[in-house]
Every structure is written in C-alpha cells, then in structure tokens.
C-alpha cells in the first residue's frame, strides 16, 4: 500500500476493524469535534468542496456539491444511503473498507447526517459479501453502544439511526435509484430522473446516496482539512483513491494511491504482469469503462481527467489488467454476457439490446461470425447508448464500443478465420488458476 494511504492506513487485516482499533487510529475524532463545536453544516460542506472529493462509486460527481443539494427545511425524515453494492466486475475496494475499516464509513455517514440533517440511514451491502454485512452490523452495534449512533449522539440533541440492508444478487442495485427501490423492498429497477433522490428518495423522502469509499474519506478530510486532502491529488482530482487491480498481475489487490499517480506505478506495486508476458490492454475503471490498449494506458496517470482524456473513465478505480494471452473477443463475450444477465428488464433498449449484443459477440467468438457483424455491434450498441433510464445500457454498450474500436482486427480475424487470433493454448496458459504467493 502506498505511503499516502488514509482509509487503508494502519490496518492489520481482520484484527483491527473494531471500534477501539479505529479510535486508536484517531477515528471518531472528527465527529466528536463537530458535535462539541456544533460545526455548522455549511462549514462541513465547504470543507468537502475544498477537498475536491468526487464520488468514488464511479460517476465522480463532486461530493460537496451533492450534499448541498439536500433541501434544508424539509419537515420529516431525510435519508442517507451508502452504496456498498459493489458488483461492477473488477471492483472490490468497498469490501475491504467494510471489512477492515467499517467505522470510517459509519463516522462518515454520521457526519453526512449532521451536515444534511438526515435522521435515518442505510448501508446497502452487496449480497455476495454476506459475512461483511454481518460484520458491519456488529460495527453498528458497537457504535450504538458507544453513543455514536441513535438518539442524542454523544449527548447532543442530534439523532441519527443507521442500519445495514443487504442485497441478494443484482448488479443493478449499485445504480442509486435501483438501490432505493431495493431498500423499499422492491425489485431493483431504476427510477426515471427527475425527480432526483435529493427531492424524492427512500419512501419519497429527500435522500443522499454516496459510495462507501466516499463516506470513508469524509472523516479524513475533516481531520486533515479539505485543502490538505486536495493537495494529495491534483486540482479537480483531490485526495487518495483506492485502486482495485485484478487480472494478469502478480499481486492483485487494493492499493490506495494519490490521484494522479502514473498507471505504471500501480502496475509495479501490483508486481507487474505475470509470467513475464506483455501487457495487452487495461480496463481502467470497472468493466463498463472502455478498454484501453497498453500503449495508451502506460502513458496515463490515474485520475478522473487523464483517463477521461484517454477515452475511458476512472470509474470506481477498478483496473482489470489483460496480458497478451487474452483473446479480446472472449473477454468481451464474458462482459456482454454479464450485462445481458444483469439487465433489469425494465426499459426496452437494454432488455432487448444486451441480449442481442451478447449473442452476436458469442457467435463471433464461436466461429459463427458474419461479415458486417462488427458494424452490427456498433449500431446496436449505439442504439442502446443514451436511450435507457439508467446507466446500465451505457455500461453494456461502452465495452463493446471500446473493444471494437481498439481491437477491431481481432474481431475481423475471428469472423474471417472462425478462430481466435490468440492460440487456444496461449489463452489457456494465461488464464490458469493463479493465486499470489502472499495469499
């Protein structure tokens, strides 16, 4: 881990997640200060704006600005939701945050509740990490017992209830309005916006939703000051970011780096490419971000603006590394299958289009491609893009567009020769079971 780590700093695996450990690391100091000094909400939001913190879930929306959208004088409950429904292939940072530093998230949420006047909150946790959900419930119990949650927090007149809500196998619930529906006990089908959650969220009440890592950053920002946090990164890309690196690297895992760190540095931290093979491509921000070929990504720094300039997205900071043994058609086939499988079925372009995309890629991969299939893929992806209620349609279209754009020749080869450009044996060797020796 980088020396600059904040959220992941000072952790010792499963041994240091409890309240006492967090407090020993300086945890809850920010909250206690706020409560003691009765820090005005505006001051907190100003500090967040100064920090340049952008949403860590993928969209990168400025957090301070989002918090300022919550209506001030709303009679009745206002809600806070934490999005820990981490299911975008390649992303596994929130699991580690909740596993090793759950109180940072809780503290961040309590501070958020204070700043936005929220009375209730839910942390929506990916169903597949059920053990983490249970641990988070334990952490909540600790916080309640310590007077940090519930009625009259730390003896003040500020009250905030926080609960954990688990998913049960639906990627779409990572979409914030699908998450709200799911909390309400419904299918995770996204809502049309407007109205936005800030005016019509959980049970129709004003609601702010942030990613786990975003909330976990908040206590550190208030501890060190917004400007200091900003300076860890670069302008408009403040602070540290956890990068989940997976795929063909020697040491996959989470690395917390300053935004703006060169990609090459992350690759080196992750032990470089396995088996001495060459880097072929990287998906830099979770499976929905367009793939970038080695030559482009090797010149990139890891921050929102640089990756965007390169034609992709920093997204959730999930870096999927593929070496030369990878068949790009097969890689896309698996991703297209995923989006087809995870489409919620609500709106037409995604419900019908994701299956079409998958079937065409599947056909190409299995030697049944036809001339014109690449154009068909581009056209179908184009017809999904920007036409759906939520971003899943775009998420399904963008990988297709990225893979076809940068690796079109591999697709053409497949169609023409009815087989992969990369020999089967090479692919097979590259995708063997690999577990880092340190695990």
């Amino acid at each position: 881990m980088s020396a600059h780590a904040l959220i992941l700093a000072g952790l010792d695996g499963d041994r240091t997640w409890r309240l006492q450990d967090y407090v020993a690391r300086g945890g809850y100091a920010a909250l206690k200060k706020i409560v003691a000094e009765k820090t005005p909400p505006d001051a907190i939001i100003a500090e967040l704006k100064a920090s340049g913190l952008r949403g860590r879930g993928g969209a990168g929306f400025p957090t301070g600005l989002k918090w300022s959208f919550m209506p001030r004088a709303f009679p009745g409950d206002k809600y806070l939701a934490c999005n820990s429904d981490e299911g975008e292939p390649g992303t596994f940072k929130d699991r580690d945050i909740l596993r090793y530093n759950p109180h940072a998230v809780i503290e961040g949420m309590i501070i958020g509740a204070w700043a936005m006047g929220c009375t209730r909150g839910y942390n929506y946790i990916h169903g597949e990490i059920f053990e983490i959900y249970r641990r988070f419930e334990e952490a909540l119990a600790e916080a309640r017992a310590a007077g940090l949650l519930g009625r009259n927090i730390l003896g003040s007149d500020f009250s905030f209830e926080l609960f954990a809500h688990h998913g049960y196998g639906a990627y779409i619930c990572g979409e914030e309005t699908a998450l709200l529906e799911s909390i309400e006990g419904k299918k995770g089908q996204p809502r049309f916006k407007p109205p936005f959650p800030a005016s019509f969220g959980i049970y129709g009440k004003p609601t702010t939703i942030n990613n786990t890592e975003t909330f976990a950053s908040v206590p550190f920002i208030l501890g060190m000051g917004g400007e200091a946090f900003l300076n860890l990164g670069k302008p408009n890309n403040g602070g540290t970011k956890i990068f989940s690196i997976s795929g063909h690297v020697n040491r996959p895992g989470n690395y917390e780096l300053n935004l703006g760190t060169p990609f090459a540095e992350l690759l080196e931290l992750a032990g470089g490419i396995r088996g001495g093979r060459k880097l072929k491509a990287v998906i830099p921000g979770g499976s929905s971000s367009p793939v970038l070929p080695a030559n482009i990504i090797m010149d990139c720094t890891l921050d929102y603006d640089a990756i965007s300039k390169a034609g992709s997205m920093l997204g959730s900071g999930a870096v999927i590394v593929m070496d030369e043994s990878t068949c790009m058609v097969k890689a896309l086939e698996r991703l297209s299958y995923f989006y087809h499988e995870e489409s919620c079925g609500q709106c037409t372009p995604c419900r019908e289009g994701t299956g079409w995309l998958y079937r065409v890629v599947h056909r190409i991969e299995h030697g049944l491609g036809r001339p014109g299939d690449v154009d068909l893929l581009k056209s179908v992806a184009g017809n999904i893009m920007g036409r759906t209620i939520c971003a899943l349609g775009d998420a399904a279209a963008m990988p297709v567009q990225g893979f076809v754009k940068h690796f079109g020749d591999e697709f053409a080869y497949h169609i023409e020769h009815k087989q992969c450009l990369v020999p089967r044996g090479v692919q097979d060797a590259g995708s063997q079971i690999y577990v880092s020796p340190s695990c």
């Binding site: 299911g87 992303t91 699991r95 049960y168 499976s287 698996r334 690999y434």
Partner: protein
C-alpha cells in the same frame, strides 16, 4: 407455521430497521432468512413472507425472482456458486469451475444425485482480487480457490 419462532424473531428484527408501515422493506432479508432455514423458496414460503409483511404475494415473487441468490427450486445441501466473470476468469475462475464440475460430476445448475451439491455460475461477487472466488450457500465466501483448496472445501462439506 412453516418457519421456526427463531427465524420469525429475526424477521421482526429486520422489520424493526424500517419506519412503521414500511415493513415491506424487510422482504429481501426475510426471504433470505426463510431460504436459509428451508433451503429454497417455494411459492408457499414466498406467500408466507408476503403475508407476514402485508404485501401482495406477486410483489414478493417479483423480488424473489429478480435477485439471483434466491433459489426458486430446491438445491443441494451445499450450493456452490463460482464466479467466472472476466477478472476472475483471467486468474483461473473458469478453470476452478471446470475442476469443480469434474470433481462433482455435474454441470452448472445441476445437483449431484445424492442431493449434496449444486453448482451455479455466479456473477461478480466484488472480490476479484481474491480470484478464484466461490460462495458456499450464499453466505460464506471462499477466496483464492486453488485445486487444493477446492479439494479441502469439498472434503469438509462432504462430512457435514
């Protein structure tokens, strides 16, 4: 009563997380609890949960059929879900699944004749750094599943 009083107590604990009148929010948790106790969700179980929460049975059915960790048909005593999504596949997820298929003699969505094991193909579990990854009965995640670890796991489950 098709569920034990202990499970119903857990239902109530889940319901208490939500404001009065919004008990429907607990449907995902209650379905998961019911499935944990009964192994799968029969229509009767889903209707029971719906009635417990005062919601239309079809609304509970929508939920149960939407989220893929709910089982709408009986599964083996040990349901093993292997992630084969791209990041896992790059580090052997598919090979781990193939190894399991060979060892258990079944394919995805099949159950061994003795009713002990069901194998499922999973989507991203948010643990790509731990590849190969699999879930045992939804709630236990097994990381870094080399062939040796798969052998160990199966041996352990075989004894249960």
């Amino acid at each position: 009563m098709i569920l034990t009083p202990e499970t119903l107590q857990e239902f109530d604990r889940e319901i208490a997380k939500y404001p009065a009148g919004e008990q429907r929010s607990a449907v995902m948790a209650c379905l998961a609890l019911a499935q944990r106790e009964l192994g799968w969700l029969s229509p009767e179980t889903i209707e029971f949960v719906a009635n417990y929460l005062g919601m239309a049975p079809i609304a509970a059915w929508e939920v149960a059929s939407f989220y893929n960790m709910y089982d709408l048909a009986p599964v083996g005593r040990h349901k093993i879900t292997v992630c084969t999504n791209l990041p896992c596949a790059l580090s052997g997820g598919v090979h781990a699944a193939e190894y399991l298929k060979k060892k258990l003699g079944i394919g995805f969505d099949e159950t061994t004749p003795d009713g002990k094991f069901t194998l499922k193909e999973g989507e991203c579990m948010g643990a790509c750094g731990d590849a190969p990854v699999l879930l045992h009965n939804n709630h236990r995640m097994c990381s870094f599943m080399t062939k040796e670890r798969i052998d160990q796991l199966l041996a352990e489950l075989e004894k249960q």
